[in-house]
Assembly symmetry: C2
Homo-oligomer: 196 residues x 2
């Protein structure tokens, strides 16, 4: 069975892929807007992990909606949720038997409710899998430390492939740098550089 | 890291063990009341799957509470939930780094809420894992068909190691056979007989 795993190069989507690897033909899919080199960073991590990789470009309307939402809210949660749902829909449109992501039990964003998951499954005749949905924050950290080589750094400069990097840039272009700092407070993030 | 996986010999707990096998030293744990041969059935399946196995006997008070609850309710849900929570607590008391079960995204019973899971983790300094929490019914069925040898039969007669077999017998002793039939309507169940 073929599983398309939404992939940012972070530890959550990397672990999700490793959990599914035993049972599925896993393909890592970076979904984004072609802004900057986010997809290249994800591709580099995918190669280190040894999984096939593909790039998927979401519609500009999704970026516009997410950026407008974040500018209005002053925080990123709903904008990121918008992008994540569009990304799952786009992967589910492809030639996979299952679409997967790295959402965890203790995540606040993005979240995928059971009702939304069942709707996605029915509309696309596909399975939706969130292999980390039954793992808490501590368990994910321990699994990642056991399994992955990880680099830490400020989210602003880390060479990552997640939505945040692209949304920061799109928001900066639309609204200016000061709003970016307000919407995305500085914090330490991680990215995966290989397997242990 | 050592994971104790609550194990009935059914496909859900078998798949949970296989999902964790790559990352943990998995030990299958049958928790029950020593009634009939439920633990023997679970042990036989554990051997077929190639995992170490242990038996854990829950306190009689748990059985008494579950049976009284089912007799009062006329349905098994709350009684089974009582037993499952007691079983997780008992495994979490042992020498494991993580305690796991086979609960799925679409299950109605037993269920483990995020709040209950976090409480278990804090009180026992352990990770709680539900590897199938991000898998729907269809995905679990497809994974099981790909991975496991499965036998089907009426729940009443199938040689299983789940709570139902023991609770049926305890309810029959306490309240008589007619209440058993009312509480547990006849249905087809499955048990795992080996790996594919």
């Amino acid at each position: 069975m073929r599983a398309g795993v939404l992939f940012s190069g972070g530890k959550d989507s990397s672990l999700a892929a490793l959990l599914l690897d035993r049972f599925y033909d896993v393909r890592l899919v970076h979904a984004g807007f072609g802004v900057g080199d986010a997809a290249d960073h994800a591709a580099a991590t995918a190669e280190e992990l040894g999984f096939p990789f593909e790039r998927l470009t979401l519609e500009t309307a999704v970026a516009d909606e997410a950026v407008a939402r974040m500018a209005e809210d002053g925080f990123p949660r709903n904008g990121i949720q918008t992008v994540h749902e569009a990304a799952l829909e786009a992967v589910a449109d492809g030639e996979f038997d299952a679409v997967a992501d790295g959402t965890r039990r203790d995540d606040r964003v993005p979240t995928v409710s059971r009702a939304w998951a069942q709707s996605l499954e029915e509309r696309h005749d596909i399975d939706y899998l969130s292999p980390l949905a039954g793992f808490g924050r501590g368990a994910v950290d321990r699994l990642a430390a056991d399994t992955l080589e990880i680099e830490e750094g400020p989210a602003r400069t880390l060479a990552k492939g997640d939505y945040e990097a692209e949304l920061r840039e799109l928001l900066r272009e639309a609204e200016g740098a000061s709003l970016v700092e307000a919407v995305f407070p500085e914090r330490v993030q991680t990215r995966v550089t290989g397997r242990r």
